[in-house]
Symmetry: C2
Amino acid sequence: MSTIHRDLLLQQLNWRYATKQFDPQRKIGSQDWAALEEALVLTPSSFGLQPWKFVVVTEPAVKGKLVAASWGQQQVADCSHLVVFAAKKNIGETDIDEYLGLIAAVRSAPREALSGFRDMMVGGLVNGRDGAARYTWAARQVYIALGNFLTSAALLGIDACPMEGFDAARYGEILDLDRQGLAATVIAAAGYRANGDKYAALKKVRFQKNQVLAAV
Amino acid sequence: MSTIHRDLLLQQLNWRYATKQFDPQRKIGSQDWAALEEALVLTPSSFGLQPWKFVVVTEPAVKGKLVAASWGQQQVADCSHLVVFAAKKNIGETDIDEYLGLIAAVRSAPREALSGFRDMMVGGLVNGRDGAARYTWAARQVYIALGNFLTSAALLGIDACPMEGFDAARYGEILDLDRQGLAATVIAAAGYRANGDKYAALKKVRFQKNQVLAAV
């Protein structure tokens, strides 16, 4: 099995930064983009439930509306692909049963063998949890996808800018998320940095290892 | 600049799985582990604020206590390194000022030039947000670190198992997190799969692209 060397991993994690200015002419190639979509699909989640949808925006008119709902941040328009990470707002038994049906189909497993797993998910996520608590859980899962996406993009040499500064309610309207039971939770612009982006040259600011790591 | 090929990224994302049984004899080498710690440090976060601490547990006696606080899940004991992703419970102006001091030092920037950035962070995260809302934000950031960690480990050929099934309050006591203003939010066991782990051979279950991705 071929893996990568740790130095290459760290090189690319140091290379990446929250890109403020994208080159609006440079688009991510279709094969690289297909790989990043596949990476999103492969994101791990609690129970494997995948309580999300990734809305990929490339249409200029839609991007224009989203810029206005993002405090005018131009990355949303100038990037190659904008990913809106949407989380299920009110995960319930229907979602769990859909997932169990998928497991049974993929693994040729009898549905009855999954009843203990069903009880665990319903007990842990649905019973006794109101909508807010369910969304709290789903929103966290979406951030796993964000972390995976940012690292995956960096390894392919693709720039990205994760963003929380947007109006989730307006995103929901523009992208028709409410009707699907989804909420825009976080977004990431992806593409290639503009030559002139002064943020690319700034030194990365991270706490020292001993401030954020402890060994026990 | 050297990057990796998209096929290698997808190969490793397909190779990884939530490892249920670790080989207790196999430890992650010190250079690979140092790289994974560095990857954690490099994780992006909103505003760059890094509202977290990563507690790395290798001490068998401590692992034993944590197994008991993790519904007996043996991965916690058998893994090489257990990472407890802890989030700041009540981020405030002190944290923000510490971070601004770091920026000023790393980038040799005058502190006054950062006052607008300070206002933005205090306004967005502290003012008008109670402790629960601050923790909601910090906990999400920690999941970026989790996503980054899982992808980074997979690329190095290191197995991992992310877990939400543990008693956060007891973890807090065992690892003395409360006193530091931290809460155990999610954990990941890392190491190498045991030969006999039957979960390694199961087909990965993911929704189809058209179920979780939309193009606009």
